[in-house]
């Protein structure tokens, strides 16, 4: 099997070499092969970018699920502001081959991926965009069974609906407790948007209720903007507890919905644990995750620092100053796709520029943003100085409403680009 695949690979390359003068259609059989594992914002965008910018590349997208459920705007689902159907996207319009199976093995020497349906896919370049997995061993008391009582809802889908259902069933006057992990994790401002929209739900539907946010950090993304908004919109409802003030959760008890900290314990009527995370499982299988659980990459090509020929994009990657966001995954996907096309040509990829913009909603029609522009420097993606930054602290309601509308428009555009 190994020998056979190698022989075939050499033959295929010979065909390419012999077909130099032919247009691409005539030597399709010798097209370089890129396999993309993971059909989220990163993987789907990468597959589509290769299809668009390098149609001579033979692309296969591997994704276990037939439908993707997007995390951005899933906090709206939790607050009852949005139907989860608006979060779901299929793969029929991706425009490349799509295989619905789980990747179970990567042989980076033979350049082959094994799927759980027995298929073996040969590649010249592999892109991993596996997103996150929950690090179940990091928070005592929190395991997969516990997440049915204390949902994380940090992968959108059934968990999102479970948290929504629990909030809807809670009596007025109840206490919601959220825990937020230390960095790094998917979507740095996400916990605070969620806190805002849960507070909006409580204020609107269950005004005698409270929300306690227990944080393992003292500082967070867009903090001043969030705290100014909370003081204005949710006084007496939302309380944030920093690590210094005893916010770090050291253990949870799913039987009693209790969060333990070094300073005491907090019992919840509805408990949302945003747990510590790591790169999705296939990253460790492929050997591209380091001891942190995340994946070091070259900032020009997104090629793994640990395994040649394997590129990692999106939440799983250690992308320097770039946050783990859908916008970043999409931007990285396009840069990675172009770099791979350049490498397959035998060329040298240009130094890229990347943009990230993250919107957060504090209430319907109240949006804030942070933006960054990034370039490689000293082996990392680094902020370009004197650009980017957050929304102004003193802005009129119309500005917040405009940013909320921009967030809506962004979601429509980016999902269209990623999923067609």
């Amino acid at each position: 099997m190994v020998g056979g695949a190698k022989t075939m690979s050499v033959t295929r390359r010979s065909v390419v070499a012999g077909g130099l003068a032919l247009p691409f259609a005539a030597r399709a059989a010798g097209s370089p092969r890129v396999v993309v594992i993971g059909g989220g914002f990163g993987g789907a965008s990468a597959a589509r970018a290769l299809g668009r910018y390098a149609p001579g590349v033979d692309v296969t997208l591997v994704e276990a699920n037939a439908t993707f459920t997007a995390c951005p705007f899933s906090n709206h689902v939790i607050a009852g502001l949005r139907d989860i159907a608006a979060q779901r996207f299929g793969y029929k319009s991706v425009g490349t081959k799509v295989v619905h199976a789980e990747a179970t093995g990567v042989d980076a020497t033979a350049r082959r991926v094994t799927l759980n349906n027995g298929t073996v896919l040969a590649y010249d370049r592999l892109i991993l965009s596996p997103g996150i997995d929950i690090a179940w061993d990091k928070l005592p008391g929190y395991d997969e069974a516990a997440s049915e009582r204390m949902p994380h809802a940090w992968k959108a889908g059934a968990q999102t609906l479970l948290l929504r259902k629990q909030l809807a069933a809670m009596k007025d006057g109840g206490t919601v407790v959220m825990s937020v992990p230390a960095n790094p994790y998917r979507c740095p401002p996400g916990p605070y948007e969620r806190a805002s929209l849960i507070a909006w739900y409580l204020k609107t539907h269950k005004p005698r209720s409270k929300l306690l946010v227990l944080d393992a950090k003292d500082a967070f993304s867009k903090q001043k903007l969030f705290q100014a908004g909370w003081a204005k919109l949710y006084p007496g409802i939302l309380k944030w507890v920093s690590a210094s003030d005893g916010g770090t959760v050291t253990r949870v008890d799913p039987a009693t919905l209790t969060f333990a900290t070094d300073f005491g314990s907090h019992k919840a009527d509805v408990a949302n644990v945003i747990p510590p995370q790591k790169a999705g499982r296939i990253a460790a299988v492929a050997g591209v995750a380091d001891k942190t659980g995340w994946c070091p990459i070259d900032p020009v090509t997104f090629e793994s620092r640990l395994v040649p020929g394997v590129h990692v994009i999106g939440d799983a990657a250690i992308a320097g100053a770039m946050p783990k966001s859908a916008f970043a995954a999409n931007a990285q996907a396009k840069v990675c796709a172009l770099a791979i096309a350049r490498l397959l040509e035998g060329g040298t990829p240009d130094d890229p520029r990347l943009i990230n913009t993250c919107y957060s909603l504090l209430a319907p029609h109240y949006g804030i943003s942070v933006a960054g522009i990034y370039r490689p420097a000293k082996g990392l993606l680094t902020d370009i100085p004197d650009a980017g930054g957050t929304s102004p602290l003193d802005a009129p309601d119309s500005f917040r409403a405009q940013e909320a509308a921009n967030a809506d428009a962004w979601f429509r555009t980016i999902t269209h680009e990623a999923f067609g």
């Binding site: 130099l20 370089p32 397959l344 240009d350 520029r353 913009t357 933006a371 650009a387 980017g388």
Partner: protein, 79 residues
Amino acid sequence: MIGRAALAMVLLGAAAPPPGATSCSGCHVLAGRPAANTVAALEAFRSGAKPATVMGRIAKGFSPEETQAIATWWAGQKP
């Protein structure tokens, strides 16, 4: 292994996007938009002449030359 360089395949062609250009389409549909329009908008965002939410902050991350290259490339893309 036959050396990849020896293959001299053309996958991207002459119209490879300049640095930063592909990030735009996360939010905007710019393909086929006249370059002068895009440049004028970005310059106005950068200077503050045109009111902005986030684009003022983003435009500051690109020089006039980079802005021109991005706008020209998008103008040449098929809508």
